[in-house]
Structures are given as C-alpha cells and as structure tokens.
C-alpha cells in the first residue's frame, strides 16, 4: 500500500492499520480477523471491514482513517472555525488568515488535516496563490453529500 504510506508521510503521521489488508479495485481495506473469517466469495465482494481510502492518482483517505488520524498526536493539523469549516466541507480551499491554530510547519507542499475542534473535516496541501498562503482542498467530508447527489441523479 505505497499510496497510503505516501499519504501518511505527507501529513507527517505514523500509523499502522491493524488486520488483514485487502484491495478492491481502487479501494484499500483493513479487515479484522472476525470479518476475514467470514469472507467466502471475493469475486462478488464490494466492501470489507474498515475502508482506509481510495487511490485516484492521489490517495484519498476514508472518513474513518481521517477520524483516527484526527485523534492522534503527531500529524500536521490546522484548525478553523465553523464558518470556514463549512466552506471547506463545500469544497473550498482554506486561506492562511482563516487558520486559527496549527501544528506542523506550514511550508509549501506539506499536507495538513483540517480540524474543527476535535473533528477532522478533511485535508489539504499548502500552496501559494497571488503571493498568499492557502491550504488547497484535497478531500473534505462534504464528499458524502456530493456522492449522494450523484447517486440520486
């Protein structure tokens, strides 16, 4: 799971998922022993255990992985208030001046989890635009609403 390792390195996190690793198309899972013991037909399987993320060029962490990383000490994190958090969850980037607190070096190319209190809303990469620092949105939890809309259409 090279993509997962690269992602973890990009946010400065040390994390080793427990359980058996499984790939299903572009998705990466960690499957606990209880569930692994009941897998019979891998051909028609669509989901198993804990989703770690998807590889779409870049690794896109799952909500569960973000939740775990958000609770850990060590990964790069920035905090935003609720208004900016909602804009971020709607797919927007975070401007430097909206960051209320950070842990980790905010240097070009580094990735940060976007936190609102104890909750992780997604992650982004530090870039400079028009001479100003911003965190480019790489993934946010609003993706669930976009996926739901996609399924309704």
């Amino acid at each position: 799971m090279r993509e997962l390792k690269d992602f973890l390195a990009s946010i400065g996190a040390v994390y080793e998922p427990g359980g058996m690793r499984m790939n299903l198309n572009d998705r990466r899972f960690a499957v606990g022993a209880d569930v692994a013991a009941h897998i019979r037909d891998r051909g028609r399987m669509v989901y198993a255990g804990k989703l770690l993320g998807r590889t779409r060029g870049e690794f896109i962490p799952s909500a569960g992985l973000l939740r775990e990383l958000g609770r850990m000490q060590g990964p790069n994190k920035v905090w935003v208030d609720e208004r900016v958090g909602w804009l971020f969850a709607c797919g927007r980037d975070v401007f430097g001046e909206s960051i209320t607190k950070s842990e980790g070096e905010l240097e070009e190319g580094a990735c940060f989890l976007v936190m609102m209190g104890d909750d992780c809303l997604g992650y982004g990469r530090v870039e400079t635009r028009g001479g100003k620092m911003l965190l480019k949105n790489l993934f946010d939890l609003g993706d669930f609403l976009r996926r739901e809309r996609g399924l309704e259409e």
Binding site: D34, R40, M45, Y47, S62
Partner: protein, 294 residues
Amino acid sequence: MGAGIFLKRYETMGHELTGRERTRRAIRVNTLLASREELEEKLSARGVKLTPIPWLRDGFHAEGGESSVGASFEYLLGLYAIQEAAAQFPIEVLAPTAGEVVLDMCAAPGGKTAQAAAWMGNKGAIVAVDVKRDRLYALENNLERLGVENCVAYCADATSLDYGSELFDKILLDAPCSGNFVTDREWFTKRDIGDVEKNSLVQRRLLGTALGLLKPGGTLVYTTCSLEPEEDELNVQWLLENHDVKLSQVDGPGSPALMEVLGRGLSPEVAKCRRFWPDETGTQGFFVAKVVKP
C-alpha cells in the same frame, strides 16, 4: 389502478386510511460514534429539537433547525443516520449482539446494516448482500460515514445464496416489497395487485433460502414496508405450513398481525407478528415477524 382499491382493502382490515398519511422526520443516533446526550447537545445548538421515540433504543423525531438534518457537520461526521422510525424497529427485534454472525440478505442502502453494526459494537461479523450494484454504492457510503467495520458486502442474488457450509446466528430479511403510499406519493399510480402477488413469490423464495442459512436455534426477522397481506401474514402462514419453524412474540407499537385476511382464516400463531398501520403509529406501513428455527 388508483387509490380506491387499496384503501378499500385497508378498510376491510379495520383501518380507514386517507392515503395522505405522512411520517415525521426521524433519525437514529449512531452509537458507534456518538452518545445520545452528545448528539442531543450538538443538534440542539443548531436549533434541532430531538424527541426520543419511546419504543426505539436510539431513535428520535427531529424538528426545526435552519440547516437540513441531511446536511450538517454531525451528519457528515456520522453521528446519526436519517432512518424512518418504523424502519428502525426490525433491528430492535433481531437484537444482534457483539460476536454474533449476522446475515443481512437484502441490505442496500444499508440503513439496517449500519444499525446492526451499532448494536454489535462493530464486533462479530455482518454479511450484507444485495442484488443491485447501483444500490450498493449507497450502502458503501453509509458504512464508511457511519464507521462500520464489521461488515463484508456482496453483490449477489440472495434467492440462490450459497455460503459454503456456513450458517448464521441471526438473519435479517428486509424483503423487496411493494412499499407503501406513506413514503411514496406516486405509490397508488404505480402499484397494482399483480405486483403484490409477484413480490410475494420472490419473498417466499428468499424466506426458504434464509431458513437454509440459519443455524438451528437461530433467529430470522422477516420484514416488509408493505401493508398488503400477501407479502405479510400470508407469507408467514405459508412459512408455518411449509417449514419447521416457530414464531416468537413481537411486542411494540402498532397491532398484532391479522388472523383473518381476504376471507381466509390464519393460524393464531401469525398474530405474534406486528403490523404498523400509519394511522396508529404515525409511521409508514410496516410488518415484522420473528421466526425461530428449532
């Protein structure tokens, strides 16, 4: 076919429905990620008033709030699921526990799969099956958002499900059915009795397969959101006549299932099942049977 024929049927079963009954908005606290108190506090800060539904462990009616309950931080963070009140009842009856192995035969979009995982505290295993790949995408999103980690899901036809020699402690058969008018405004224009009869045959095949996959002593919960007796009481009667099973009493809101339908008397055992009439429960129509394999 129109509303008339169905509303008349319901009248012969003792319920004068208008065809305009609707449900209240209900949510389920996802106990994998939040406590009732935590969710109540967070949503009340957004102006959403939660009122506990007395016959559900984790269910609330949700009123008010400027932002939609379907698009809040708490929703995105998986702290609750939007799940109609009656639809939360079957898992309460199945009551899966940590360490059990549970089969959810018609699982998508996964509302009850995720609820079962919460009852099991993400321990043990749930095998979730649905025949429609496109509906399974919604199940996958729900499992991810709600933090479910003890499930393996398959795209397969459950009528011919073969799971090696493995048998399950508990099975949920939330069968494909005709649905009901409460949650679908177009229902009366879409449905006729022919559909109901066709569905009933598929349901019997699913019931037969389910019993073959259940451990002796295991529990099967059979449920539909149909008010039509062909899909409810008559299927349970068929089960009693064709399989070695016992029924367990289902208590709760609503009424005991009917013992006489469409001019036919049924086994008094059938009355152990539960029927949710929209005019009585304020929910959609629902039917729940708890079947035990000796």
